[in-house]
Structure formats: structure tokens, C-alpha cells
Amino acid sequence: MKTEYLLEMENITKEFSGVKALNNVQLKVKKGTVHALMGENGAGKSTLMKILFGMYRGGGTIRFNGEELKRTGPKDALKKGISMIHQELNPVPFMTVAENIFLGREPSYGKTGWVNKKKLIEDTQRLFEILNIRIDPTKKMKDLSIANMQLVEIATAVSHHADLIIMDEPTSAITEKEVDHLFEIIRSLKKKGVAIIYISHKMDEVFEICDEITVLRDGQYIGTKPARELNQDSLIQMMVGREIKQVFHKEKAEIKEVVLSVKNLSREGKFNNVSFEVRKGEILGIAGLMGSGRTELIESIFGIDPPTSGEMYLHGEKIRMKSPSDAIRNKIGLVTEDRKLTGAFLPLSVKENMIMSGLDQFLNFGYVNGKTVKRKCKEQVKKLNIKTPNLNQLIMNLSGGNQQKVLLARWLLNDPDLLILDEPTRGVDVGAKAEIHKLMSELAQDGKAILMVSSEMPEILGMSDRILVIHEGSQKGELRREEADQKKILEVAYQ
């Protein structure tokens, strides 16, 4: 049976440890078109693409060029004519541009396995000519700018002579001029009948280059429409459309004097001229997509990577944070976004994980007082309802939610004035999530100032007294709790 579609994905379902990341999703792409895949963080776009490219298994059927695709892995996908530009660049830094492009399929002299370097470079040059890319193929990958690496990545995807190229945020690291160049490449590929799946958060790009748009939300298929039938507003509506179902335990707290005030804070290449203040009893939410500079911003506030310019005032006094210990001394706490990478000490016990940022309070003549440790940690376990058989249990044996609570307890033991929470409920089950929200609300009522970063719109809307919107490193605006909704936040971000 002949169809007009090059790719037909139907009933695609994928579960990650019991959570449905994709539920009966479909995606149909016509030959020679650019098809945008849109949705918020966590909507399932990347997961869907990884299934298509054979990196994940998943339920459902995929037909490509009219035949069912056996999903055995990326190698097979490439052979069938699907190539992918990944969101993260994966160059081999000490190999040349040409070697990177033809990695794993280097031209050789007959079957000797001896690489034909001349042909390798010629092939690369020919490829670059077609794509109008001006990069020396013999240069080492590590000496390229990020933008040029991105172009090499694009060239690699094209070099497979694929019928379908997946581009997962191809413009996240390049400037406007190079975006134009990319679009030229895309248009010429289109003319040759190549189809492209285009994932981007940048609305203007999507409307400029894409023919059709498919929207996913929370792992569900929402719909597919021709791009010309949509505008920014209607697209945002499709992307966020849901009602907020979750109930948030946010009690009103008395908002008092300013704790932290930040003026024109900048770090080169990460964020620019950010100014805000957060008060006692207040939860200030920072909304922004991943890569918007929000994590870098709080890292600067906490002294992990100091800002290049701007000022910070704590309780009205000017301060400089040169290291986390400065921040801790000033009664600031930070729960980082990645528990495994920067939060938990996995081989250590619950107790040791809790006391590590405030050891001084447990010292008796340099000796850690086991009794005080036990008493104070037990208090926290009880207060935060941490489910652990005992304090000596290794933290890696706890569930995500309980690990997160232990890390919260670590900072609560220091009795901070300002608590910075980066994705406070990422990878946490629903029950623990509600408990953490309730705790945040109680902490605000106790007079603590809370700065919360979150990718989850409902969480931002449900927990924040005020919302600071950050997009691509700059502060786009501020919304009061009463006036904010998902649509407004996106509008402010994209304005």
C-alpha cells in the first residue's frame, strides 16, 4: 500500500519505571517536508525521537518508506535512511573534522582496513561544498567553535544520505547568522525530497521553516496541523492547554523585609543583567526552559561560579560570594537540580549526608558529637517524614523522594535565611512531592525566603508568590501570583 507519508509512527508507548513518558503517540511525516515537533520540557519529544532512532525500545508501530521498521539500534536506523542531530554534541575532540564525520565508516583501501586519508578529506570537502560550509576538514574538532561543531554535526547527519533527518534543537548553540545558514541547508535538502523533523523551543524559527507541526503534551498526542493554520498564540494554547489538576499546599505567609536583592547580575555567555529581590516569607519562582541560564544564575548567587558583574545585597548589606562556604556562612542553602551529580553522597549514610554542610554545629573540641548528630538528624527524619530504617542506611538505598528530603534536611539543619531550590521535586513521586510542597509553604510561613527554580509550570504557578521569567539568559519579566498562568509565562518568555 502506497501512502503519502514517509514516516508513520503509531500507538507509540514508552514507560520509565512505571511512569508513562509516551502514551499512544502518533507522528506522520510527509516526504520533502519540515515537520516541527513541539511541546514543553518533559512532553516526550526527545523520547519519541530516541525510539525512532532505535536508542530506546517502546511499544507501537513505525513504518518508514512503506515498510515496518525493525528497531534494533541506531546503526539500523542509519542504514534505513534515518539520521539524527542530537541535542548534545558528541564530538571526539582529538580527531579531525573529517574523521569525526566519517567515524565508523572511513573509506579504506580495499578491505585492508587501512584508512584512505586522501579520500576521507576529499569526501568531506565535497560535502562541505554542497552545504556551503567553510571549515578546514583537517582541523581538530576541539579547536572548533561550538557553532562550527554544530555545523559539522549537521554535515554528519546529511552525509548519511538519509531520507529523514531528525534535528533535536539544532540551533541551541548557534547565532542568528548560522541559523540562516542552517535554514538554507534545510531548504536545499527539502528540494531533494529529504524530510526533516525539527525540534525547537524557538517559535519564530518553527514558523519560518516548518510545514507541519505536531504537538505533544505530557506524553500525549495533541494534534498535527499545517504551520500556516497556526500562530504563536494558538500553538502555545495547544502546548499548555491542560487545566492544573494538582493541588498545591500553598498557605499564605506574611511577606516581610527583603532578604536577598540582586542587581544587574551577569555572567558572560550565561545570563545578563538579572535583577530581583526575595523577601522573608516569600517564594520566588524562576521560570525558564532548561538552558535558559536559570541554573547558572543560582550557581552564581551561591558562589559556585561567581558572576562577572553586578551586585548582591543580603539583608541590605553588600556581599560577595566567592565560594559556597561564603554562602553557607551567610545562611544560604542550596538544593541542586541533579541529586546524583551534585547533591547526594551516594556511598555515605543518611546521617552523614545530612550533616555535611553544617558540621561545625556538631563539633566538640574538633570531635563530631555523635549524640547531637543523632538527635538532630532524628528530628529531621521525623519532621520531613523521611522513610529510612535507620540513620546509618546508605542514601543510595532510599527512594528518590526520600533522598530529596535528606538533602533538604541537610540545609534545614543550618537554619538558613534563604533557601534556593533547583527543581525541588524532580524525580520524586507524587506523595513525596506534595510533602515537599507543604514543607516549602511551612518554611515560608516560618519566615524563610525561598528561591525556587522549576521546569514544571504547575509547580511554578502553584507554589510561587512571584514569578521571574528568564529566557535565553535574560530576564524577560516578572509576574504576580494572581496574574500568572501558563500562557502568560510563555508569552512573557517569547516576547
Binding site: 559556585i304 559556597p324 551516594l346 556511598p347 555515605l348 555535611m356 563539633l363 522513610k387
Partner: protein, 334 residues
């Protein structure tokens, strides 16, 4: 205690499904408490296999032999817990040995001069190890490999490649003296062991050592000055190596530039057999002491049974690999 633990384990399992099962926990429990049982079993085995093993004289001899490497291994334990490695201890022993010996001739200097010089040289070399790897961002493997090579060269240069003899009686006491019938090295071994155990398990310094090895990024966020701490840890390792070198020099009555070859590997082996994990964040001083004793008992028992030293090496190698195998199994679930 036992039942409490089993209950705790059961509770844990019921809380979370993707936790590892009870069976996979055995290696963990095993490597935590089992090492002592293995040691006892080994002692029992040796006692049965050879009549010359289990008597006070021989046992004291074993512990004495173990003392030297045991003290070095304690410093190495700190280093490995931070996820580092120290390959320089063997060569440092030689360097400390010749320098200390040259100041320990009878009537030349008071005893404290060679002693302070010895531990000072050790600590200073450790300081360089730590600084180069922490501030220079050079992997400790390379930094200490450099020190290993250079310190051996320095020792040979300083001594002209010859042993330095004629040491004062008070210096020789360090290696061959007794207190209440117990050889001095054993007393130092136990005393240093106790101190290091307290330091590692009950002080800020110790907790920070575990934290850095457990998750360096998280340690920074907890306000720990990671670079400074690493420098101190390597300095401590060098200092302990210095103590061991002084006693070894006294025991063989000479400063020897060829001393301590392969000691670094024995020290690492003792720490690893004792449950210290090369992936960082795990390890104890008592474990390392037992690890050193296991190597000592094995060497001694096999010697007494006239097993060839070739076979001894093969066996030792197998034991080290087995210990790490258990360790890697344990860490796989992380």
C-alpha cells in the same frame, strides 16, 4: 543486633521496588564486617596447616612485620577514600631513610633531628603530591608516579647509591626496641592506628574526606574547600610514610636508597583488601589494619610451610583481585 538488621533490610525493600534484593546485599555486609572473619579464618587455617604458626613469638613477629606497611597503608586509605591514589610511598620510604640516617650517626645530632627531618621530608613530599594533583589538576596517579620516580632518584643521589650505616642506639630503638615486651613498631602501629581511626571516623577532617570521595561536586556545594583538603590528605599520607620509613631504617640499621620497592602496591593492597573502595567514599582504618594483617599472615604462614615465594606472589595477586571484585559488585548498584 542481627535481627534488627534483618528487619531494617526488609523494611527498606518494602519501601522501594527498584532497590536491590537481599541477596545482592551479602557482598556489602560481607565487605563491611566479613573481613575480620576472613582474617580469623585465615589464622585458624594457618594454625592447622603449620605447627609453627600459632605461638606468641611468631604472632608478635607477624604483627611487627605488618606494622611498617600498615602505617603507610593508613595514609593511603585516606587518599583512596578521596578517590585518589598514592604511588610514591615506596620511593618516599627510601628518601626519608637515607636523609634520616645521615643525621642519625652516634654523637652527631640529638635524636629529634633525624626524626623531625624524616617525617618532615615525608610530609613535604606529600604536600607536593597533593598540590600538584589538586591545584595542577593532574590526576593523582600521574602526580604520585612522578614523585615515585623522582624520590627514588633523589634517594640514590643523596646517598650516592650506598647504604648509610653507623646509627645511634637511640635511633635503632625505633625499629628493634621493646616496651613491656612489645616491639616498639607494634606500639606505634596500634597507636597511630587508633589516632587515624578517630581522625577518620569522628572529626570534620574525616567526614570531609568521605564527602570528597563520595561526591566531589556535592562536597564543594557543602562548603568544603576541596583543594585544600586534598593537599592535607596527601600531606598526611606522606607524614605517615615518614614514620614508617624511620622505623624501617632503624630495623635494618641503615639508610637504604633501595628500600621500599613495591611498598606502595602492598599498601594499596592492604587498603583494598580491607574494604577501601577505589571508587571513593568507602573505607575504614580498622579494615586497612586487618587488610595488612591478612597479607602478613599469608606471607608468614606460607613461609613457614615452605611454599615458594613465587607461589606466594600468585596467591597474593589472586586475593587482591578477589577483594576488588567484591568491591566492584558492591558499587555496581549505585
Amino acid at each position: 543486633m542481627k535481627t534488627e538488621e534483618t528487619i531494617a533490610k526488609k523494611q527498606t525493600i518494602s519501601h522501594d521496588r527498584d532497590r536491590t534484593g537481599w541477596k545482592e546485599k551479602i557482598p556489602e555486609l560481607f565487605s563491611r564486617y566479613g573481613i575480620f572473619l576472613i582474617f580469623l579464618a585465615l589464622v585458624a587455617l594457618m594454625s592447622v596447616l603449620t605447627p609453627h604458626f600459632f605461638n606468641v613469638y611468631n604472632l608478635i613477629n607477624v604483627v611487627k612485620q605488618v606494622s611498617f606497611i600498615g602505617i603507610v597503608a593508613m595514609g593511603v586509605t585516606f587518599v583512596i577514600i578521596t578517590k585518589g591514589i598514592d604511588l610514591s610511598s615506596g620511593s618516599l620510604i627510601a628518601l626519608v631513610s637515607v636523609i634520616a640516617a645521615s643525621f642519625a650517626h652516634p654523637g652527631d645530632y640529638p635524636l629529634f633531628v633525624p626524626l623531625l627531618l624524616g617525617v618532615g621530608v615525608g610530609a613535604f613530599a606529600g604536600l607536593i603530591n597533593g598540590t600538584v594533583s589538586a591545584k595542577g589538576m593532574i590526576p593523582p596517579f600521574i602526580a604520585t608516579l612522578g614523585m615515585m620516580t623522582a624520590a627514588r632518584g633523589l634517594a640514590l643521589l643523596y646517598s650516592d647509591g650506598r647504604p648509610i650505616g653507623n646509627l645511634s642506639d637511640s635511633f635503632l630503638f625505633l625499629g628493634s626496641g621493646d616496651l613491656f615486651g612489645i616491639p616498639f613498631p607494634i606500639i606505634v602501629f596500634l597507636f597511630v592506628g587508633l589516632l587515624m581511626h578517630l581522625l577518620l571516623s569522628n572529626t570534620k577532617f574525616g567526614k570531609h574526606t568521605y564527602a570528597i570521595g563520595g561526591n566531589e561536586q556535592a562536597a564543594r556545594i557543602c562548603g568544603i574547600n576541596v583543594d585544600r583538603h586534598l593537599i592535607l590528605v596527601y600531606t598526611l599520607a606522606g607524614f605517615l610514610t615518614g614514620i614508617s620509613a624511620l622505623m624501617l631504617t632503624a630495623r635494618i640499621s641503615a639508610g637504604q636508597p633501595s628500600m621500599g620497592v613495591m611498598y606502595e602496591l602492598d599498601a594499596i593492597a592492604a587498603a583494598v583488601i580491607g574494604g577501601t573502595s577505589l571508587t571513593g567514599g568507602i573505607g575504614t582504618i580498622p579494615g586497612t589494619m586487618i587488610g595488612a594483617l591478612i597479607i602478613g599472615v599469608l606471607n608468614n604462614g606460607l613461609d613457614l610451610m615452605n611454599v615458594s615465594s613465587y607461589w606466594q606472589q600468585i596467591l597474593k595477586g589472586a586475593i587482591i583481585v578477589t577483594a576488588v571484585l567484591i568491591d566492584s559488585r558492591k558499587n555496581k548498584k549505585a
